[in-house]
């Protein structure tokens, strides 16, 4: 019962977060110089033409009115139409969601598959060995290289020597898996570098901390072999901070996806949102941001629940 209440409270908070994000984005976009009507009409425009457009899309109404009507429509599941293409926004986003989901999934999976084992190995290695030095180096380099720098470098390198990989030329996975992967490997790697570094570092620190705990000494004193100590005690206890950081990574990833999709011209939600922002296609940007914040908020809640599953102390506290 308490648990349900807790979850309800968390969900309330999550919705509130999404609402505030929407409001902030709404205000920020309207503060950008040049509204939709200015951009769509180009340099040669008349007062009348502008009036027609603002009226057509209800842009002449007061800002609170506009926001409220958008909100009410969204709550009814209606995200409106793109002012540029006149196609329902939901359809536009759904069509592009596949590429973005694939991109972020590849990045997260790569980051976890590389970062976790390296982090555990670096955490378990003796302080003098090269494994730990190597881990520290990768961690520091990866975490301090911005996505766009790495992306630009990769775009340059691979447009000179292709090595079978392509920059741009995206095809949906189910049409041509091979061509799809050739186009996705570079953007996904770019996105994953930061994640690898972040997860490697966190895992290493976390493992190092756990290794000094009394229950590890206890297991060693009972003559348990190192592999089973790692399996039974280290991984579980070290996983908590890693889960938190993985969610933070996912939040950053959505921002990174926008940049990487632009750089590698991957036709995903990120690129779409960017173009919508340039065109002042308000409804599209609003909806995309709502989607992004929804994903982040959901991830945070999932981590919260995972925490409680791993650590009984949190469960106990929550049920009190």
């Amino acid at each position: 019962m308490r648990l349900l209440l807790h979850i309800a409270a968390r969900m309330g908070m999550a919705l509130l977060t999404m609402l505030s994000v929407s409001l902030i984005v709404f205000v920020a976009m309207r503060m950008l110089p040049g509204g939709f009507e200015m951009i769509i009409l180009g340099p040669i425009q008349t007062e009348e033409a502008r009036a027609v457009i603002t009226e057509q899309f209800g842009l002449d109404r007061s800002l609170p009115e506009q926001f409220l009507s958008w909100l009410v429509a969204v709550l009814h599941g209606d995200f409106g139409i793109s002012m540029i293409t006149r196609i329902p926004i939901a359809d536009e986003i759904l069509r592009r969601l596949g590429a973005t989901v694939q991109l972020t999934a590849m990045a997260v999976i790569t980051a976890l598959c590389v970062g976790l084992p390296l982090g555990v190995a670096a955490g378990l290695a003796d302080s003098s060995t090269s494994v730990r030095t190597c881990g520290r180096l990768v961690g520091a380099l990866g975490a301090s290289t911005p996505d766009f720098v790495l992306g630009v470098a990769l775009v340059y390198i691979f447009s000179v020597w292709s090595l079978g990989l392509t920059v741009g030329g995206y095809v949906p996975f189910f049409e041509d898996p091979l061509a799809n992967l050739r186009a996705m490997i570079l953007p996904a790697s770019t996105l994953s570098v930061f994640g690898i570094a972040l997860i490697l570092r966190t895992t290493r620190e976390s493992v190092l901390t756990v290794m000094t705990e009394g229950y590890i000494t206890g297991a060693v004193a009972r003559g348990d072999d190192p592999a089973s100590i790692v399996r039974r005690h280290v991984l579980r206890n070290a996983s908590l901070p890693v889960m938190t950081v993985a969610t933070i990574y996912l939040s950053l990833l959505l921002g990174g996806a926008v940049i990487v999709e632009i750089l590698f011209t991957v036709p995903g939600v990120g690129l779409y949102t960017w173009n919508a922002l340039l065109n002042r296609d308000y409804g599209v940007t609003q909806s995309a941001v709502l989607l992004f914040s929804g994903v982040i908020v959901t991830c945070n809640m999932l981590v919260d629940i995972a925490y409680a599953l791993v650590d009984p102390r949190i469960r106990g506290r929550r049920q009190q």
């Binding site: 009394g214 229950y215 000494t217 060693v220 009972r222 003559g223 039974r232 579980r236 009984p312």
Partner: protein, 325 residues
């Protein structure tokens, strides 16, 4: 009968960026199977280092400088990694100071005891262990954070005896507990020792406590065992001047409302082998020989003591210090 544990002139250094600390400086003792030994000494005298050395559990910055330590006739320093693990599994059980830290917070007590038994214990072994250490059956379902300190230490003890060790090493097992619980836990350890026939090494800085529960007392100072003998004897008629001083502070501390009379001076922090008796700077009877010649641990009056003057050259009973015992 062969000793279950025997240290011979064991010397151990901690190497640190700032230099070397000699934590054990030629410590010697031996213990027969089934007996209980209490090692007492001030903070820094090397008790924990000696306790950890029994299971070769010393941290990575430790250097085994000299001497040897045997468990069940096998030198722990000569064994390979699997050998020492096997020895820990079959012959040794450890109980450390902080019971809460010793339990994995993400695992139920029953599961941890099961693992301590070797993974697949007989049905009924876990409840049997719980009962032996005085925990209710339901404790198996509990998480560590749901236990009190005393219960947690009982769970840790259950894990330590799970594989019926021949030697139980307990390093200040009550230091983190409420004073009211201390006697219970110590009595439990002794009861289990008697019940299972294992030997017990209890490390503590409280001489009276150790004298009450252990058959043999070893007094440690400056990384050495300076006096070793049966409890009643050491407690009533300590031979080594340091033992006498330790006993005196213990008596003072026992009187309520009065301040402890500490031994004047500081315990040594050695960086290499001491040239003479390391207690000499604090000893009222010290002379030139004490400062220049290491006193060996030698038999005196049915006991062992490492003091040049312990055989009667110095007053045998320190001016009424041990009166009343």
């Amino acid at each position: 009968m062969n000793a279950i544990v025997r240290a011979r002139d064991l010397a151990v250094d901690y190497t640190m960026p700032g230099g070397v600390v000699r934590a054990l400086d030629g410590a010697s003792f031996e213990l027969l199977p089934g007996r209980s030994l209490g090692l007492v000494g001030e903070s820094g005298s090397g008790k924990s280092t000696l306790g950890l050395a029994i299971g070769r559990l010393l941290p990575a910055n430790v250097r085994h400088a000299a001497g040897d330590l045997e468990v069940d006739g096998r030198s722990v320093f000569a064994l390979d990694d699997e050998g020492i693990r096997a020895l820990r599994r079959t012959s040794l059980g450890f109980v450390f100071q902080s019971p809460m830290a010793a339990l994995d917070p993400t695992m139920r007590i029953g599961r941890q005891i099961t693992l301590a038994c070797g993974g697949q214990p007989d049905v009924g072994r876990v409840p049997e262990l719980l009962q032996q250490v005085g925990l209710p059956k339901g404790a198996a379902r509990a998480w560590p954070h749901e236990l009190s300190g005393g219960m947690a230490q009982r769970a840790v003890i259950a894990m330590a005896i799970a594989r019926r060790p021949r030697l139980l090493v307990a390093d200040e097992p009550t230091a983190a507990l409420d004073t009211s619980l201390r006697a219970q836990i110590l009595d439990l350890l002794v009861a289990l020792k008697n019940e299972t026939g294992s030997a017990l090494v209890l490390l503590s800085h409280e001489l009276p406590v150790v004298a009450r529960v252990c058959e043999i007392i070893g007094v440690m100072y400056g990384g050495r065992v300076v006096e070793l003998g049966d409890s009643a004897g050491v407690f009533s008629r300590p031979l080594h001047p340091y033992s006498r001083a330790l006993l005196a502070t213990a008596h003072d501390g026992a009187r309520p409302g009065e301040r402890l009379a500490p031994i004047p001076g500081m315990p040594p922090v050695l960086s290499g082998p001491a040239s003479g008796c390391s207690f000499a700077p604090r000893c009222a009877f010290a002379d030139e020989r004490c400062r220049s010649e290491r006193p060996p641990l030698r038999p005196i009056g049915g006991r062992l003591a490492a003091c040049h003057h312990a055989d009667g050259t110095a007053p045998e009973r320190g001016s009424g210090m041990s009166s009343g015992m």
